[in-house]
Amino acid sequence: MNTSTLLVTIIILIAVAYILGRGRSLVLADASKGGFRNLNSLPFYYGTLTALWCGIPSLILVGVWLIMDGSIIDQLLIKSFPAEVTTLPPSELGLILNTVKNIAAGNMVGSDTQPYMTQAAQSLKNINQTSQMAMTVLAISVGILLAAFSWWRIRPEQKARLQVEGAFKFFLLACSCLAILTTIGIVFSVIFESIKFFKTVPITDFLFGLQWSPQMAIRADQVGSSGAFGAIPLFVGTLLISFIALVLAVPVGLMSAIYLSEYASPRVRTYVKPLIEMLAGIPTVVYGFFAALTIAPLLRDGGAWTFEFLGLQMSISSESALAAGLVMGVMIIPFVSSLSDDVISAVPQSLRDGSLGLGATKSETIKQVVIPAALPGIVGGVLLAASRAIGETMIVVMAAGLAANLTANPLESVTTVTVQIVTLLVGDQEFDSPKTLSAFALGLMLFTVTLALNYFALHVVRKYREQYE
């Protein structure tokens, strides 16, 4: 049977195991032997224990089988190939394997099918059937056997509750360890590919090179055949756009937070705060569309008009860093404002009262007492916003350019780390070309920088919170 029916069967088995286990505990607890009090745990726990024994091993078996069978079947197939095919380089072998799989699936009967391929396709079909069959039989029999064993083991004095609760706790622990696994997964996936990349392109060239043109030529004698992987233009472009975004977002966000927490009446606050926070809830692809189709043409035309009026020989590129940066700034206003709002509200009222009591105006109190007291928290918030701006993808993909210009002029087109990752990895790609691998190296840089910023920011914020608690 196929995998989904197998899963349904296992679930039915689990339900049956639960009912049987519970039933047996009730039988053991019948009145002649002392009734319910005779049982160590409630019947529910005996049922659950049987169900766990039935379900978990067979589900794990199915999972491992599904992950492993692909590569094992590949190995078996390769062994069945003629000797001269087996010795081919891995990439060509992979192509042949794909052809065989396609033939087996009945997709394609190409002109260059060799007899050994059709033979292999036939045996692949057989192996697949056998594998599916073996998995079904094995999973179901493991489930039934273990359930029967556990059912047979049920005794009134068995500590079913402790065992079930142990399994429950283990499940919870495993779930919370997924966060660690994810981090490890991220680190490994970017580091391994990056190491492969740094074998072909020295790390110093990558970090300090001024030229970025990852197009690799097909022939060695073509122009630009080497491809240039100097990431400085990308770093500069990223910083430029993030800087523009922060220049807009920090003052606006901070002043909004100050007004909302210090001046606004509760009524205004309850209506305005969610509205401002709506800006953070809008998907970034919408901002990207807005930047590319509304703001960028607006800036370009407005700029052309202004420069003509002033008689300057300048123009604003239609993919200018300014458009992307400004829209990104609007997006991160709520980050700055809600984080600042939190820290400003955390400043003890006594500090304000003291300052007001000395005759300071409200704005003097805020500028000279509240803000200095809240400064570490605000800095933390700004750093978090900066990390958000650096890692932002869709706005820059849609509104910023692709050409890696090394410039600090916000009117020109620049490209960013995230834009390059997207352009290098979207679509089909081979995993061993430096072009693809360079995206992972960029990902590593991005991950390291944002991680450092986040860690530092969280540290600052936490330290600050402790100060007033």
């Binding site: 692909g70 429950f168 779930c175 919370s176 007004y259 919408v286 005759g359 105006t361 003097e364």
Partner: protein
């Protein structure tokens, strides 16, 4: 307390500066109001811009043509053969109708331009008519057919302030359209295609159904995985974990993952799920996996807050009458914390619904016409569809992109409103 004559009176100094200080106070207040107004104006501008661009996509231009359903011209010899009916040359019949409507067009180029008035998918509408009622064969009837996107854009922009958008039209083409409009043969109708069709290269045939189903399947996978796992992790951290290095390490990881750029999760998905486990690209299952990892921190953090809000007295009371730890959690803590956790889950799902970048990495940007019917069918999602259409050069795609954005924002508003409602309605205060 008489001030000495040499030092100036404090009150004098204060009074002298008072006007200036009050002015500064006013300015400061004004900056605050200006900042907030700026934020709100941006929001307003964004919405009006999107709605202004997108509202017209909900209507589609149709052209009325007198069509002769000649069985010969369609190539149908046997009315009872569904294959013949399905394979009929309906586009040819439409072309014939156009030639008859504008008999003055004789040259090849002119004819080709003429055929461009109706969509190249308009034949399917005729086919549907014939399939429903084969009796109309060999009769002539007036049929409303889908107009081409250029005509659609022209007709919609006729009444606008900047005048009609003519694009690549020649004078001749414009005169045809105007004559059709004058004779009342052009009509705007509600654009049902937009909600029932998958993607298409032709704007007038493109719809968001495929992307919506893709989003739905992806979100289902995400919800089915991230909610149980997130709640379980939150329960462990709040109820079981001892304060030690390991627990701290888990917490640091969760907090950092919450701030990792979403594109990094895309790289993870590409390297682990696609490259290592060799899962297929562009399927909602893998998209759901990636979004699960991305939304987990949000769900864990909000679930922890909800669990923390359950007063300890509840736990103590349950323990006191003999409940075990698992019973306390399953029978008391979780049901009481459920509204808060659901709110967090909905907000996490809203975040996942709007996410684009990681899905680009795992290949959900492919051009897929078919509406997916399961979690392993290749598909795209709503934000990625917006991204794809935003890149298309056809002008008619701009309004469709905006309309797709309106649909996406509509879903997000509904989800967030649901979250607020749940919090207001079900959350208990102790």
């Amino acid at each position: 307390m008489t001030p000495s004559p040499k030092t100036p009176n404090t009150m004098d100094v204060v009074n002298k500066n008072l006007a200036k200080r009050y002015r500064k106070e006013k300015m400061f207040r004004f900056y605050g109001i200006a900042s907030i107004s700026f934020g709100l104006l941006c929001l307003l501008f964004l919405f009006t811009d999107i709605i202004g661009k997108g509202h017209s996509a909900f209507f589609q231009t149709y052209v009325k043509l007198p069509v002769v359903m000649s069985a010969d011209a369609l190539g149908i010899t046997d009315v009872n053969d569904p294959h013949q009916i399905a394979g009929g040359n309906y586009q040819g019949v439409l072309k014939q109708a156009l030639r008859e409507r504008f008999p003055e067009v004789t040259d090849r180029r002119g004819k080709r331009a003429l055929y461009g008035i109706v969509s190249n998918g308009a034949g399917y509408e005729l086919r549907a008519l014939v399939e429903n009622n084969p009796d109309i064969l060999n009769t002539s009837l007036d049929v409303w057919v889908l107009a081409d996107d250029d005509i659609d854009t022209y007709v919609k922009s006729r009444s606008s302030r900047e005048g009609a958008y003519t694009g690549r039209f020649t004078e001749q083409q414009i005169s045809w359209i105007e004559s059709l409009i004058e004779s009342g043969n052009v009509e705007e109708r509600f654009n049902t295609t937009f909600f029932t069709a998958g993607d298409s290269r032709e704007p007038e045939q493109a719809g968001i159904r495929g992307a919506m189903m893709g989003s739905l399947f992806t979100l289902l996978v995400t919800l089915a995985l991230s909610f149980p796992i997130g709640v379980a992790a939150a329960v462990y951290l709040e109820e079981y974990a001892k304060k030690n290095k390991f627990t701290d390490f888990i917490e640091v990881n969760i907090n950092n993952l919450a701030a990792v750029p979403s594109i990094i999760f895309g790289l993870l998905g590409l390297a682990i799920f696609i490259n290592f486990f060799e899962m297929p690209r562009s399927i909602p299952l893998v998209g759901g996996f990636v979004l699960t990892l991305m939304t987990l921190p949000t769900i864990i953090i909000s679930s922890r807050a909800a669990i923390k809000a359950v007063p300890p007295s509840i736990r103590e009371a349950a323990m006191g009458i003999g409940a075990s730890k698992m019973q306390v959690i399953l029978h008391h803590v979780l049901p009481l914390a459920m509204p808060g956790m659901l709110t967090g889950a909905i907000i996490g799902m809203a975040q996942a619904l709007g996410e684009t970048a990681p899905l680009l990495m795992i290949g959900m940007v492919a051009f897929i016409v078919d509406v997916p019917s399961g979690i392993t069918d290749p598909s795209t999602v709503l934000p990625v569809q917006i991204f794809l259409w935003a890149d298309s050069p056809e002008r008619a795609f701009v309004e469709r992109t905006s309309a797709a954005i309106m649909v996406l924002l509509g879903f997000l508003v509904v989800m967030n409103a649901l979250a607020v409602w749940l919090r207001k309605r079900l959350e208990r205060r102790w």
